[in-house]
């Protein structure tokens, strides 16, 4: 069943959901059909490879046969509070033995049935405004499941919650969704893993909604390891209330065309959003990232750091905007993208932007593109390290400075291992 011509009514998916949500899906389907396909002159798609947006030959994923092997392959971080595994949007593993009481960790459809009010309050409530409105509507229309994480007031979860999203099947499509709500003073770490079971062409349109309440603290990591043939959209919205802190890291280790949109709303006074990304681009990969740091309240901070290392014929696009709305005085906002060029065929496009409508603000942005430091290479080679390994060490160090921004050493080490494995196999 083609994802662009099959309506939600024809998929039989509605039996999963309460009636009100099925109606909602029909509305989203209409929206998807009415919105135009992105065009060359659309500013949010500047520099993008529009050919990758033709999704007509992708179909809805069917349930997988061998769940057990995927469960074994979902290698976990050692100490976990909980682990959910979805394969082609079916929940195949659910372990929440380490969760404190009061925390809700549910498949989305169950949350819609039993916690309708909570669900409605935070499920895709913001306008998708960085370009992928059409694709977000398709996600909403075909959504089958996903993870719902609710942490009540004052509850602190020490260990990470890990959520796996597997895709399997040639031209198969999945719509992963993670919705996280932290109430006042709550704290949690959530790691999403996006993985292809085989070396197949597939599509994922993933959405996550992160709501960080007053004084709450969220660490969110998306580890994207789709196959090198995959197309993927990762659409994120983060809302941070007064004195809340959100730290979100996107690691893009796979995919052929990866579009990332991260939209941070600093809603409360003194709120803080840290936006990080690690992108080792190899082969013909195109990583197309658009970000928004939108300051609505005074004295909030946003801090973005994206590092791209470009090998082979890879391409990256970074378009970021810091917007300081009227009355958001005393804003501190930073944005930095660094491109490390490792090949003559690679291409890096950077569009860091600022729109400032308030005064008494401190905002800076920077974009640099450069190559491996000759002196560092020479230093290592003089000590007997081969040129290839020396380059790899420099790239690892380049990404290390982003990892260090996570305030969780155990998580840093775990992600560092995943990164090491990736870098050593992509030679």
């Amino acid at each position: 069943m083609s994802i662009t011509t099959t309506s939600p009514a024809e998929t039989g998916n509605s039996t999963n959901w309460p009636e009100w949500f099925s109606n909602d899906q029909n509305g989203a389907w209409e929206l998807f059909q009415s919105l135009p396909q992105p065009k060359r002159n659309d500013e949010p798609w500047r520099f993008a490879n529009l050919k990758a947006l033709d999704l007509s030959d992708f179909h809805l994923a069917v349930p997988i046969q061998d769940a057990a092997s995927l469960i074994t392959r979902s290698l976990a971080h050692t100490n976990l509070a909980a682990k959910l595994i979805f394969a082609n949007e079916v929940l195949i593993h659910n372990d929440q033995s380490g969760l404190p009481s009061g925390v809700l960790l549910l498949p989305l459809e169950e949350a819609a049935k039993n916690h309708e009010e909570l669900f409605r309050k935070s499920f895709m409530t913001s306008d998708v405004r960085l370009g992928s409105k059409k694709f977000a509507a398709l996600h909403r229309a075909h959504l089958r499941s996903g993870a719902f994480v609710y942490v009540p007031q004052g509850v602190v979860i020490e260990q990470p919650i890990e959520i796996w999203h597997w895709v399997e099947g040639e031209n198969a499509t999945i719509f992963p969704h993670t919705l996280i709500v932290l109430e006042e003073g709550a704290s949690a770490t959530v790691v999403d893993h996006f993985v292809s079971s085989r070396d197949e062409r597939s599509l994922a349109i993933a959405v996550n909604d992160l709501t960080v309440g007053t004084n709450a603290k969220l660490h969110y990591v998306g580890v994207q390891e789709w196959s090198d043939k995959a197309t993927a959209f990762h659409i994120n919205t983060t809302e941070v209330e007064k004195e809340g802190v959100s730290t979100a890291l996107q690691m893009n280790l796979g995919g052929a065309y990866v579009r990332g949109e991260s939209d941070s709303h600093l809603l409360g006074e003194g709120s803080r959003s840290v936006m990080l990304s690690i992108n080792p681009a190899t082969g013909n990969r195109e990583i197309d990232q658009r970000t928004f740091q939108d300051h609505f309240a005074p004295r909030a901070t946003s801090d973005l750091l994206y590092h791209n290392a470009l090998a082979d014929s890879s391409r990256t696009i970074f378009a970021g905007l810091i917007k300081v709305e009227e009355h958001a005085h005393e804003t501190d906002a930073y944005q930095k993208v660094r491109n490390l060029m490792l090949s003559d065929e690679a291409e890096a496009n950077s569009m860091p932007g600022l729109e400032i409508l308030a005064d008494n603000v401190r905002c800076t942005h920077g974009a640099t593109s450069g190559e491996l430091n000759e002196d560092e290479l020479f230093y290592m080679m003089a000590r007997g390290i081969g040129p290839k390994q020396a380059a790899q060490l420099i790239v690892r160090g380049f990404f290390g400075t982003v990892l260090e921004r996570l305030e969780n050493e155990e998580l840093q080490a775990h992600l560092g291992e995943i990164l090491d494995k990736k870098l050593s196999t992509s030679e």
């Binding site: 005085h329 003559d344 932007g353 005064d359 905002c363 974009a367 593109s369 450069g370 190559e371």
Partner: protein, 470 residues
């Protein structure tokens, strides 16, 4: 420091705010059709290829949409049907000041043009609405082989040089407004500096809009041959009319091997002029093109001077100062296209937004495949004075391949309360302290202007700042 300051700023434009009733001998009427273009071509006695070039430009102008998908919607306030595209008293500029008609002479004398010329310039051209009213070059400079005439005269008298470069740096279809200019252009300068000639003093052009609803579309082409050097300065004013006026120029610079061009603009149009200008230079091997661009006037300015570094070792530079006061939008920036190895570009932009003013920086830096040793440095600093002011920065940087270094940095800040407090402690009024701080912010750039201009600039900034704090 109080952030709630008086938003209404009284800008003193009295220097340029006067006009004379003129009887124009040539008037293309209101609106733009093929007939308007034929009228202009007939009056100017254009050669056939120029007439064809104009028609092609007109076709492209109609074809191209308004760039409002990225630019401000304010562009939609331009009513092309209401604009007068050609107005003049005659097509041949006067060579001596005495021959210039009295009204026009009075205009330029009030603006101090003849006096400036006597003082330090090598040559002056003064454009009044569509045509140059006066054009003169000092004998000594002329003897060196330097050509400095109006563009109409240039294309007729020097077709061999003119035709070779005209429309080559900026094709007529580059954007909607360069296409419009190509259709109806009139006036502007044509300059040729022969190999090795270093023109000691600047050449200057002065642009003046006198008639209401008038669109000025000058076209400037400057070619500086191998090893030669030139500094060119332009100034612009217009009286304040009831309705909006359009100024849409195209300026093309060609710096041959080892040549240097410095192009200085001080734009002080009245606050209802739409100033939509395309400026670009080509720098051949080891050549240097430097734009020094200061925008103080106009309702909306959209101007991104560019340099195409076509030869090895070429250098491009843009130094930009923008002051956006109440109701103004200064949308300025730079384009740097690296097209050869070891080319270097530098962009320094400083903007100040006060009252309800909005300053926007748009930049483009492009390093294509298989180039080595290219460097770009971009620095954008914006200063916000009031809580209703706005500033935006939208750079786009594309780098392909390794072996190049590109860096962009931008910051937005405000005048620190400590600075103001410190100065007030020493007896300065808050307004004087503010003005001093703003002058300090742009001072290093202002110093790059020739002395006469930097003094003028400082004075203008002081005037604009007056009453901006309460």
């Amino acid at each position: 420091m109080s952030t709630e300051t008086k938003p209404d700023i009284d800008i003193d434009r009295s220097v340029g705010d006067f006009r004379y009733e003129m009887d124009y001998a040539f008037d293309a009427g209101v609106g733009l059709t093929e007939a308007t273009i034929d009228y202009i071509s007939d009056v100017k006695g254009d050669p056939d290829w120029v007439r064809a070039f104009r028609k092609e430009g007109y076709r492209k102008f109609l074809e191209k949409p308004m760039p409002t998908h990225w630019a401000t919607k304010d562009l939609e306030s331009i009513v092309f049907e209401n604009i007068r595209y050609y107005l003049s008293q005659g097509q041949v500029p006067k060579r001596t000041w005495d021959e210039v008609p009295d009204d026009i002479k009075r205009t330029f004398e009030r603006l101090g043009i003849p006096e400036q010329e006597r003082k330090f310039l090598s040559g002056v051209e003064a454009q009044f609405d569509s045509e140059a009213a006066y054009s003169n070059i000092k004998a000594a400079v002329g003897e060196q082989g330097v050509i400095f005439v109006g563009s109409s005269e240039g294309l007729k008298e020097h077709p061999e040089i003119f035709k070779k470069w005209f429309g080559k740096v900026i094709p007529s279809g580059d954007n909607k407004f360069s296409a419009l200019n190509s259709a109806v252009f009139s006036g502007g300068s044509f300059i040729y500096v022969p190999p090795g000639v270093k023109v000691k003093h600047p050449l200057q052009a002065y642009f003046r809009i006198n008639a209401q609803n008038f669109g000025q579309f000058e076209r400037t082409l400057i070619i500086v041959d191998e090893g030669a050097e030139l500094t060119y300065m332009e100034g612009c004013t217009a009286p304040k009319f009831e309705t909006a006026t359009l100024h849409s120029a195209v300026v093309e610079l060609v710096a041959m091997k080892g040549a240097k061009i410095q192009y200085i603009t001080v734009q002080n149009w009245s606050s209802n002029v739409f100033n939509l200008v395309t400026k670009r230079g080509i720098a051949h091997e080891d050549a240097e093109v430097k734009w020094i661009d200061c925008n103080i006037g106009s309702r909306l300015t959209m101007k991104y001077p560019g340099v195409v570094m076509k030869g090895k070792g070429a250098r491009g530079e843009v130094v930009s100062i923008a002051l956006a006061g109440d109701g103004q939008h200064q949308d300025t920036g730079a384009k740097m296209i690296h097209a050869a190895d070891n080319t270097t570009s530098n962009i320094i932009s400083k903007s100040i937004s006060l009252g309800t003013g909005r300053a926007t920086y748009r930049g483009m830096v492009h390093v294509p495949k298989h180039l080595k040793g290219c460097k770009n440095n971009t620095e954008c600093d914006a200063l916000l004075i009031n809580s209703h002011s706005r500033t935006d920065t939208y750079p786009a940087i594309s780098v392909r391949g390794q072996g190049n270094a590109v860096q962009h940095e931008a910051s937005v800040s405000q005048i620190s309360a400590e600075q103001i407090f410190y100065m007030q402690q020493r007896g300065l009024s808050e307004a004087a302290a503010m003005s001093l701080a703003v002058n300090g912010f742009v001072n290093d750039l202002v110093q790059q202007f020739p002395m006469e201009y930097s003094v003028e600039l400082k004075r203008l900034i002081d005037l604009e700042m007056e009453g901006s704090v309460g």
